[in-house]
């Protein structure tokens, strides 16, 4: 499909934070087609039917030719509106849903060639998932829910209780261990869901619209909580959302899905600066740029032998450095990870970003 090339351009613009990491989870050419004879249909069409062919055959292409790579310790957000196939894609990645075609690798292991038994082992020890509607078991207490994944592994009662209490404390629910899910608020229930998915110390963490069912204020609080946890835990994360603001706030990189296909992958900054299609631009239009763009994206090149005073790290968001620059007459230096200056920040360029004037850098 035409969108494949565009996605590459977005990913290329990333600032190097994620690219340095090794890939934890990769997939390529993943298709999920619902309907009778989907597999044969895909084979007949060289695994590349177009939308018209699919509809003509009475099939639904929930995920079409999706490819992505999630680096270790990265927060990878898949963003799309309802019906875009994002939930189906994340279920394909964990093989809750069997993809119709494609390849999925967890580290070096080909998940589509993994037996159901090995898959169970993998899910027991290396994967965790948080669900939109919490999916707590109503007949178990908070403790029982959090300890559940350990229980099915056959961990003994004492160990699982100790471990469960640890994660319950981690998400700030200490004192609520004996409560039943229906006695908790939505936000608290999702904290249980998060604790439960972390109980087995997974290497990869799937979150399927974890905050979508919550009120806006609670949602914000939970996003902060999530970032705090990730600062401590450094998990590899696949995060699904339909909320572009949330994606911008949390993501290292974002994949945007439309009608089952990934149309662009990139850092929030890259998406805002260089949307691949009008559809993506539609989302990025309303985003306050100062919160997304970093110093590196706005800086101008250094003159020969120029060494401006002061300095900000290359990845500081414009919104954070604006105040300093507004007060000072001088341009600021932009420093790379090693503290060496790589560019200069003009007051005017920052002001352009702040007032939303385009055509800047």
């Amino acid at each position: 499909m035409a969108t494949r090339e565009q996605s590459a351009s977005g990913a290329g613009a990333s600032s190097g934070k994620a690219a340095a990491k090794t890939a934890k989870l990769t997939c390529s050419g993943v298709w999920k087609v619902f309907g009778q004879g989907a597999k044969e249909f895909l084979a007949r069409h060289d695994t590349a039917p177009n939308a018209a062919e699919l509809t003509g055959a009475g099939l639904i292409g929930a995920v079409r030719d999706a490819g992505l790579e999630v680096g270790e310790g990265e927060i990878f957000v898949i963003m799309g509106l309802s019906g875009s196939g994002k939930s189906t894609l994340v279920r394909c990645l964990s093989r809750l849903i069997e993809p119709t075609a494609g390849a999925i690798f967890f580290e070096d292991q080909d998940l589509l060639k993994t037996s159901e038994k090995e898959m169970i082992e993998l899910r027991r020890h290396k994967m965790g998932m948080v669900f939109q509607h919490f999916a707590l078991l109503p007949h178990l207490t908070v403790l029982g829910n959090v300890a559940f994944p350990l229980e099915v592994q056959g961990v003994d009662r004492e160990t699982r209780k100790r471990r469960a209490l640890e994660v319950i404390e981690l998400v700030g629910l200490q004192g609520r261990e004996a409560y039943y899910p229906r006695e908790l608020s939505g936000g608290q229930q999702q904290r249980v869901g998060i604790a439960r998915s972390l109980a087995v110390e997974p290497e990869i963490w799937f979150l399927d619209e974890p905050f979508s069912a919550l009120d806006p204020l609670i949602r914000r609080e939970m996003q902060d909580e999530f970032l705090r946890l990730q600062n401590v835990l450094r998990k590899t994360i696949v995060f699904i959302t339909h909320d572009f603001d949330e994606a911008i706030r949390l993501a290292d990189r974002i994949a945007i899905m439309q009608d089952g296909a990934i149309i662009q992958i990139g850092t929030p900054e890259a998406l805002v600066l260089d949307p691949a299609t009008d559809y993506v631009a539609e989302f990025t239009k309303e985003i306050p740029r100062a919160k997304v763009l970093s110093a590196q994206a706005v800086m101008s090149p250094l003159g020969d032998g120029e060494a401006p005073s002061g300095g900000v790290p290359w990845n500081t968001k414009v919104a954070e450095l604006a105040e300093r620059l507004v007060d000072s007459e001088e341009a600021l230096a932009v420093l790379d990870a090693g503290g060496r200056p790589i560019g200069r920040l003009e007051r005017r360029a920052v002001l352009d970003v702040l007032v939303g004037r385009t055509g800047g850098p």
Partner: protein
């Protein structure tokens, strides 16, 4: 298709709706066949010579199964008999506990006797159960129901009945659960059992009493097996439904946690489906109680036997008291199980208590058992309810009936005769004279219009089966009795339902009445009817109407209540009067739901019809009943299956219509 047809009329104005044309043609053809009855007698009355002797084949097969079928190590009969021997153990234990007590005697002169649970203790225990599940009101209700049993001298029989219920229900629940799980797991298994379940729920119980009698012998075990067969199908359906309704996410969570298939089922799906499953348990309890009287025909004993024998002796008072005892037992167990199902789940405070503090009711119940047992040792009245304190109202009821019959005989007789002469007999004659060929064709046409050729084929085949096995005339009598009863039930039930839907107070009153009506075992309806009108079609019809009216009321009420409120508001905003809202908005939108209620009414009418065979009808029900008394397996099964087929034909046609109508209205 009919929609397309009617739009065509709108467009060019002259062309006839093709379905209307088809129906007119079919009716003309029917008349023609009827006029030609001299030339083609076979088309009107199914010739006896064409009968397929299916009932002989079935009887022959049954004989072979019991006498000659050898499974190698043992015969089939040995298998079934050992199964019944196995089932006798828990039954005997329950009976010992509740009814007869246990006797351990190595020496017959000095038997060691452990007495049964005393009446005081049991009333106390069920009271505590009621209190724990639903508070003081329920405790009083349940305790009161059981007290009735003691005070009115029904205790001994009631305990025989109860002991068979307490064993049949768990077995039925477990069986239903496992079959339901299998159906949930394997789509193919579900497809295989669905028609069997349909058949089991529509074939009258009498029909399979005979084979059970052959296979398991006469006695409480055979009766319990019949009860389980009758009571289990809803549990199977409920299990499949409840497991399907577990949210996808919860199942996905289970899989992501690394559950094996078995862990997923027992640790995630079944606990999550608990509330739904409890509905099934309640159904099993109610159906088991419904079977009490019928089961006593093959040796269950207890209250059912009391009702049956007093019905046969026309001993109204005794029959009524035993019937009320069954009803009260049913009400008590129904409310108790519902309260347990709806009990609010525990909260966190419970977790912090000690074991003793967490089980106050269990401990209280145990305490009552021990204390009453000790008191009973010195004061026997606590143990066995003293006969001198028993009350009976039998004489009162008999006097009342006598009084009514003496004073109002003419009036009652006049009503009965008028209806018989002007409604019942003409309808019966008309149906009997309809050519069978035409009836099958008309049914197929209806099937074609409502659900396509598959439905048409199904309906024609089922009706054809009835003709081919020589059941046509009796089926028509069945249709007449059932059809008229349903018409009367609808004439009463639908207006009452509408009234209940529009009036909150009426709703509450009606709700209580139909809840009670639905808890009454079907036999109980016969008692007052026979008292007043003696045997015959008319009595049967009244009993059927009383039994089958409840769903018509319930569905109408529900259908009208579920009309979206914004539509009512819109109608009111347009200036509709209450009457206009009812006729132009509520009833049209509720009609599919009301029709489903009528459908249920038909099913219940057919179920009751077989039981009214006891009061001397001349239909398929009678055929089944005669087969039972003559122990004729084939005859009973063929007639029973015919009743089931009538039910299935009605059900499929009405359901197809309601489904289509709902889709057209955008409600489905």
């Amino acid at each position: 298709m009919s929609v397309a047809g009617s739009t065509r009329i709108l467009r060019d104005g002259v062309r006839l709706n093709p379905w209307l044309a088809a129906w007119l043609a079919a009716l003309v053809a029917t008349l023609l066949v009827y006029q030609l009855r001299e030339a083609w007698p076979w088309a009107v009355k199914y010739p006896r010579a064409w009968n397929v002797p299916l009932s002989f084949w079935i009887s022959g097969f049954m004989k072979w199964l019991i006498n000659d079928f050898d499974l190698g190590l043992f015969t089939f009969k040995e298998l079934t008999r050992s199964l019944s021997w196995l089932l006798d153990w828990p039954l005997a234990a329950a009976k010992g506990l509740l009814s007869s007590g246990f006797t351990f005697s190595s020496d017959p002169r000095a038997p060691i006797v452990v007495e049964r649970v005393s009446w005081v203790a049991l009333i106390g225990v069920v009271g505590v159960m009621g209190y724990s599940a639903g508070g003081l009101r329920l405790a009083l209700l349940v305790g009161g129901c059981f007290a009735y049993l003691a005070v009115f001298g029904q205790w001994d029989s009631a305990m025989v009945t109860l002991s068979s219920i307490v064993i049949a229900v768990p077995l039925g629940v477990a069986l239903g659960l496992f079959v339901g799980i299998a159906g949930f797991r394997w789509l193919r298994f579900e497809q295989a059992i669905t028609p069997i379940l349909d058949l089991m729920q529509t074939v009258p119980v009498f029909a399979y009493l005979v084979p059970i009698l052959f296979l398991f012998g006469f006695g409480p075990v055979a009766a319990m097996i019949a009860t389980i067969i009758y009571a289990t199908p809803p549990m199977v359906r409920v299990t499949m439904l409840a497991l399907r309704q577990v949210p996808d996410e919860v199942v996905e969570f289970g899989r992501m946690a690394g559950c094996t298939t078995r862990q997923l089922l027992w640790k995630v799906q079944i606990p999550s489906a608990q509330a739904g499953l409890m509905v099934g348990v309640n159904q099993v309890i109610m159906l088991s109680l419904n079977m009490v009287i019928i089961a006593s025909m093959i040796g269950a004993g207890g209250l059912g036997f009391d009702v049956l024998s007093s019905l046969r002796r026309l001993s109204i008072g005794q029959g009524l008291e035993a019937g009320i005892a069954i009803t009260l037992l049913a009400i008590a167990l129904d409310r108790l199980s519902q309260a347990f199902a709806n009990r609010p789940p525990p909260d966190h405070r419970r977790q912090e208590l000690t074991w003793v503090a967490r089980h106050p009711y269990l401990l209280t119940a145990l305490g009552i058992l021990v204390v009453t047992w000790i008191i009973g040792l010195v004061w026997p009245a606590v143990h066995i309810y003293p006969e001198t304190l028993e009350i009976t109202t039998g004489a009162f009821w008999e006097d009342l009936v006598e009084w009514i019959n003496v004073n109002f005989f003419d009036e009652l007789e006049a009503v009965k005769t008028w209806l018989l002469l002007h409604v019942l007999i003409p309808v019966k004659r008309f149906l009997l004279q309809l050519p069978w060929v035409a009836v099958i064709a008309l049914l197929a046409l209806a099937g074609l219009q409502l659900g396509g050729w598959r439905l048409a084929l199904l309906v024609a085949c089922l009706a054809g089966f009835i003709a081919v096995t020589g059941q046509w005339a009796k089926s028509m009598v069945t249709v007449y009795l059932c059809g008229l009863s349903v018409v009367f039930a609808a004439l009463i039930g639908v207006p009452v339902g509408i009234w209940a839907a529009r009036n909150e107070r009426a709703h509450r009153v009606v709700q209580v009445i139909i809840d009670t009506l639905q808890t009454l075992p079907s036999f109980v309806y016969l008692i007052p009817v026979v008292m007043l009108f003696r045997v015959g079609d008319f009595s049967a019809m009244i009993a059927i109407v009383a039994y089958a009216v409840a769903p018509a009321v319930r569905y109408t009420d529900h259908g009208i209540r579920q009309v979206p409120p914004h539509l009512i508001e819109a109608a009111r905003a347009m200036g509709c009067t209450r009457r206009q809202i009812l006729w132009r908005v509520q009833i049209p939108l509720a009609l599919p739901e009301i029709m489903l209620g009528i459908n249920q009414t038909i099913m219940m009418a057919l179920a009751m019809l077989v039981i009214t065979a006891l009061v001397g009808t001349r239909d398929l029900g009678q055929e089944v009943y005669i087969a039972l008394t003559k122990a004729d397996t084939g005859r009973g099964i063929v007639a029973g299956v015919s009743v089931a087929f009538i039910a299935i034909i009605a059900d499929r046609l009405i359901a197809a219509w309601a489904m289509r109508r709902k889709q057209e209205l955008g409600l489905a």
